[in-house]
Amino acid sequence: MIAGDTVRSRRRRALLLLLAPVTLLLGVFFLVPLGIMVVYSVLEPGLYGGVEWTWYPFNYGRILGWPLNDYEEFDPIYLSIFLGSLKIACLTVLFSLLICYPAAFWVSRMGERRKNFVLFLITLPFFANLLVRIYAWLLLLRPTGFINTLLQGLGLIAQPLDMLFTSFAVVLGMVYIFTPFMFLPIYANVEKLDYSLVRASQDLGATPLQTFLRVILPLTAPGIVGGSIIVFIPALGNFIVPAFLGGSKVQMTGNLIERSFLQSRDWPFGAALALLIMASVVLVLMIQLTRAARTQTKGAV
């Protein structure tokens, strides 16, 4: 008993020692800035950036629909931009899912060498700078860009299509950026799917659709959920893609935050917006965690 206790306490001390660096790092570079953001979000903006140290709840009021610091005139402009961002993030998740889910099955059934090559191709975009890649889409999509020139050359359209600075362009760019993040978790899940279960389902009389809904989908759900969360979180706060491909027409909350800090120099408002995004992300994660905990107690999947 005593020996066991000393072993355990020694283990605990070793664990603390091992965890100390990462705790320190997170504490200094994550929790402290987060605390600053929380505090700033309820302070009055300074004239040229910075903050005035007075209680000022109107930042949240503005986000929720009372832009004029007085809670009288209701105009949910920021809320609608936030909902627009939510929509774009959801569409990004949906389309990258539609691309990656079938692709994962396809790749998982390839021969070893082709498989490794395809996986290499999927990670290839990371070798090029993000801005360059987004800028390439700008060149492709603009009225005198590659796609329009091609379609006009083929005589399929008379006037150039208005693709740039639309939600379509933003979703397209986001799907393009986030596809690898969706693919890898789904692929990891699909790869270890036991194909004999599919056989068994068929053997027991299930049609292909029944097999998919009752066996394949539930068993690959963890990959789908994981990939969706990994894409949803950065997509919701993204500002580079809308800045390039959305122009002034398609704005996301990320652009508002960027402008609050760097252009209008309204730090408290930017902080409040950032916390709004963070709150929604935490909400999504909590829903997922409780769900996962529930399936855990039901039995290992």
Binding site: R199, A200, Q202, D203, R214, L219, V301
Partner: protein
């Protein structure tokens, strides 16, 4: 009209290197209704391939499958009235035991009261009542095995296909399950096609055994037929242990043949067939050989040799005897008399005796 006819089935696979593997080469088997048929053969002989073709997971390249006279060509796996028990059981990990067993009924749209009743019966049949809300991962190998059986049998298939279902179990469990499976087959009255590479298992369980090698059917018959009268050297070697001697018939005296091997060994055998000059192979089972008493043994019915090894396996001793020309004969020696063990000590000179009636003769290939 047979029940399930496998009519000159052909199937070839192409390896990535471009070679062709003949997994099934002109296999014809008439499966009877309600029989326990075992496909027996070494690993890679095409047993799983045949099972997959019957189940509908693979298509034959040539030949046909007929269920009560109707071809199964083009019938997808989920529409065939066959079910499979997979080697790794393939239980759905995200479902409870009851959900696993009810799966086939659910996808067929069976109403809940009837479904629940049949699932309950199936659980009871395999002795797992009360396990319905557990998950497969919470069961032992033998229990998972039973769930897989129940999951298939609850659908009352015409044929149950079992691909080496016992190979993952330990020896004791395997022997228990062999008896259980055999009894189960009897009580449900469903045709079982059982795949194994274990000849003892095949002999213990089957009504009939089909021996396969390199994609070809070597012999099909009742267990005793296959064991006592193997059709060729492969079957003689694969099913049980055999001592084989190949030679030519030099004398025929009524039913008593004398066979002379290439090394000049002269051996006697009794048989109705064969004429002087025919090439034959003698099959001598170890249990038909014994160590001759001094002075005992007629001409041609003995083989001289030196004991190489004596392996005590419990009820008997396996004696390995060097009989010259690089050949070793194996005989099963009962050790009821204490004195006899001295006779089978390594190094001892012995004479092996057998009765000519116990010899089975195979016509030598091409002879």
């Amino acid at each position: 009209m047979g029940f399930l006819q496998i009519a000159s089935a052909h199937k070839a696979y192409h390896t990535p290197e471009g070679a062709q593997v003949r997994a099934l080469d002109d296999v014809t088997i008439d499966v009877r209704n309600n029989e326990f048929l075992t496909l027996l053969g070494p690993s890679g002989c095409g047993k799983t391939t045949l099972l997959k073709c019957i189940a509908g997971f693979e298509d034959l390249d040539g030949g046909d499958l007929l269920l009560e006279g109707r071809s199964l060509k083009g019938v997808p796996a989920h529409r065939r009235p066959f079910n499979t028990v997979f080697q790794n059981y393939a239980l759905f990990p995200h479902m409870t035991i009851a959900q696993n067993i009810g799966y086939g009924l659910d996808v067929a749209g069976v109403r809940k009261p009837e479904r629940d009743r049949r699932v309950g019966e199936a659980l009871e049949m395999v002795g797992l009542s009360g396990f319905d809300s557990r998950r497969p991962a919470q069961l032992s190998g033998g229990q998972q095995q039973r769930v897989a059986l129940a999951r298939s049998l609850v659908l009352k298939p015409r044929v149950l296909l079992l691909d080496e279902p016992l190979s993952a179990l330990d020896r004791k469990m395997r022997e228990t399950m062999q008896i259980e499976l055999k009894n189960l087959q009897h009580s449900v009255g469903i045709t079982f096609i059982f795949v194994t590479h274990d000849q003892e298992e095949a002999l213990a369980m089957s009504d009939r055994i089909a021996v396969l090698s390199n994609g070809r059917l070597q012999q099909i018959g009742r267990s005793t037929e296959v064991y006592d009268t193997p059709a060729n050297e492969f079957v003689a070697n694969f099913v049980g242990t055999s001592n084989l001697f190949t030679g030519r018939v030099t004398e025929r005296n009524d039913r008593l043949l004398t066979i002379e091997t290439a090394n000049g060994r002269r051996l006697a055998a009794r048989s109705d067939g064969f004429a002087v000059g025919d090439g034959v192979t003698l099959v001598l089972r170890p249990e038909h050989l014994r160590i001759a008493e001094p002075g005992e043994g007629g001409a041609g019915c003995t083989i001289e040799g030196t004991v190489k090894d004596a392996v005590f396996v419990g009820s008997i001793v396996h004696v390995h005897v060097d009989v010259g020309f690089g050949r070793t004969a194996i005989l099963h020696h009962r050790h009821e008399r204490a004195g006899a063990s001295a006779a089978v000590a390594p190094g001892a000179s012995v004479r092996i005796a057998y009765s000519p009636e116990s010899v089975h003769l195979i016509a030598a290939a091409g002879g």
